[in-house]
Symmetry: C2
Subunit: 413 residues, 2 copies
């Protein structure tokens, strides 16, 4: 945190969650406030898919998260820089995040979505083997060499390059470059990788500080360290202690990203290990989590902000949230439902359109189907997490959780 620029970036805890690690808080950024816990919609390529920024504002999202990897490849972070930074480029004047590209260079860089295939038997120390026949991404102690998923061209990310890219993108909150492992790696590899990520964290802090001074005419960017350690308690606690206490020439992380392989069943436990070790006065972002039950568990265990593509991705495939669970809008039962998707929803879509119309748009393969369903799903999740905040402040978080979970998941809980 840059103590010499008061107000540029800060976090304050508003109220602690009784009997748990969670809290309601407030992140101040140069582009405005984020009241936490908060869900941050993802705008991978500098656009929340199918939405105008006015619609994002209207669903009361406090920030948007874009991906350094994607914007580095297209249009190029230098282009975004010349445009005045991510927010100005995409006409979003609120707070912005960018992830480091660490996850994407390994997952998308090898051409497979969400799967980093690493076989323990064939695993070789310094390589991520995406396919037994062809190695497409190489991790070494200095960085990652990867192939673009767009055109197959070769690229290299190091901690320094990730910092440069994210400074050019200019988001309010950026993340340290880390190696994202999977649950399939050996314990030995996880240890080695964690140490690598720790060293990269130091390099990120240094380069971030240098760039912050070099580009001091720009609004201050907060740097979050990313915590790995897979399913291992000692490694997770070590990561949190290492990065939580890290100071390079007086420069510390402004907050933390909780990342890596997270088994759904152990999600709360792992977030808990991390948050127990982390300094309480700094914000924590749980990367890539957006399912309602996971959000409750994340909030309960101390995560302040969340991002996930799921609400909008599911919306585009016609799966929408209701208080009583997820439904598919192409279902014939909606053909004559001349009422909103969810009567209790306060979103633009539910205020102005019937389920019958949304059903028609999906059946007709009209783009507006994605737009209206995305507005609804994003609002549903943003509001759900905002309601958790209110419940923490009121003091009835666990009652609220029980009530929601019972209705949404029904007999499944």
């Amino acid at each position: 945190m840059q103590m010499d620029t008061p107000g540029a970036f800060s976090f304050r805890e508003v109220k602690a969650l009784d009997g748990a690690l969670g809290r309601a808080g407030e992140i101040t950024t140069p582009h405005g406030l984020i009241q936490t816990p908060a869900f941050i919609p993802v705008g991978t390529k500098a656009t929340v898919k199918a939405l105008l920024p006015e619609s994002i504002k209207e669903l009361d999202a406090h920030a948007v998260l874009a991906n350094a990897y994607h914007l580095y490849l297209q249009p190029g972070s230098d282009v975004v820089d010349e445009a005045g930074g991510l927010g100005k480029f995409m006409n979003w004047d609120g707070p912005t995040f960018t992830d480091s590209g660490g996850f994407q260079v390994l997952s998308l860089g090898v051409g497979f979505k969400k799967v980093i295939a690493m076989n323990e038997d064939t695993f070789r120390s310094d390589e991520v083997i995406a396919d037994k026949k062809e190695r497409l991404a190489h991790v070494d102690d200095d960085g990652v060499t990867f192939k673009s998923h767009l055109d197959g061209s070769m690229h290299r990310f190091t901690p320094e390059i990730s910092m440069k890219v994210q400074h050019e993108l200019g988001a309010d909150i950026i993340f340290a470059f880390d190696e994202c492992t999977t649950l399939h790696n050996t314990r030995k590899y996880q240890e080695k990788s964690l140490e690598r990520t720790r060293k990269w964290a130091i390099r990120c802090l240094k380069e971030h500080d240098r760039l912050t001074k070099e580009r001091n005419h720009r609004p201050y960017q907060a740097l979050f360290g990313v915590l790995q350690g897979a399913q291992y308690e000692d490694l997770r606690r070590k990561a949190a202690k290492d990065l939580g206490g890290m100071s390079v020439d007086g420069v510390e992380f402004d907050g933390f990203g909780l990342g890596g392989a997270l088994d759904k069943e152990k999600l709360g436990t792992i977030v808990g290990w991390l948050c127990e070790e982390l300094p309480r006065q700094k914000p924590r972002h749980l990367l890539g989590i957006g399912e309602p039950d996971d959000l409750f568990v994340g909030v309960e265990n101390g995560a302040d902000t969340f991002d996930c593509v799921a609400p909008s991705r599911q919306a585009r495939t016609s799966a929408v949230f209701t208080q009583d669970g997820r439904v598919n809008m192409t279902n014939a039962k909606f053909k004559r439902q001349f009422a909103p998707i969810d009567a209790s929803c306060d979103c633009y879509t539910c205020a102005h359109y019937t389920a019958a119309y949304i059903n028609h748009l999906f059946k007709s393969k009209e783009m507006l189907a994605s737009t209206l369903a995305t507005i609804h799903n994003e609002r549903f999740i943003v509001r759900l997490v905002a309601n958790m905040r209110e419940a923490i402040i009121r003091g009835d978080f666990f009652e609220m959780k029980k009530e929601f979970m019972g209705r949404f998941y029904g007999a499944k809980i």
Copy 2:
């Protein structure tokens, strides 16, 4: 025109265009005013592709035109009726049009877009032959039998069914069911077809009147007769005289649709023939025309309103309008154009986004590319026609035309 419901539908001429058939005017509908000449964006399936209704309002479109054929097949005109009509269904509170389905049952009904293949040699009197091997649409004196382009199911439209469908859709302005011929039909067939369309016009007026009385709790719908006659002056003039003077039990057409095969070179001449014969106190809609040069010619020769899918269809393929002609937004020269698509444009897109961002969205295949380009193109054409209106009122239409055409088409004119 229903003289017993004053204000429900009317047209008044505001100013005539000196030395030509054109005029500035005003159409009053139960859902508001349309200041003419006006371009009406197309929302084929009850949505202007990629746009929220708020965006359509913001580009100052005065009305939206949907297609009876498409909505009859999906979701069904009865569903739209139950929803409270087209406007309510799609959350558009302004004036609406629906076309009769006459063009679509013959063109889309046979599974080919925009081409009704009729070979003069093989032409048989009562059939539209879409393909020599398979007849998919059959025209007879009573109506048209056609195959759905969605699922191949068989359907039949008659003048009475088209009226029923359009009354269920409930648009402010609807069109009589006509047979749309092509320039490839024989003169003999054009004569026969024109007589058929004339008889259908009588049946439409009768059925429209019956439905208007039966559904008298609904806002009044204005019925426009559709004029065919292909490239033949005598047939065109006859069509205008026949339908222009048509009265069935005191019920007349409220306006006219100028339809059918229109060679670009003869467009102005044909519109002129029609408008010379039509009663001056009723509005005229030129169906399916939206190219800038065609719009000037149409306005000059007496057309009041226009619809066309071209501005939005072109936008989705990254072709956008500028004062200096059409450009393709994927062109590499836009990568670093940190200025709007068109500096003289007042649309939402040009006010808030650079050409560089639009280029990035198209390169990234993001839906927002279509949304922003559609807003721009629709606004460009809506504004162009609104500017023609202002020029007619000011008295400098031909100067304005010359200036625009010189810039937009350059050396091509």
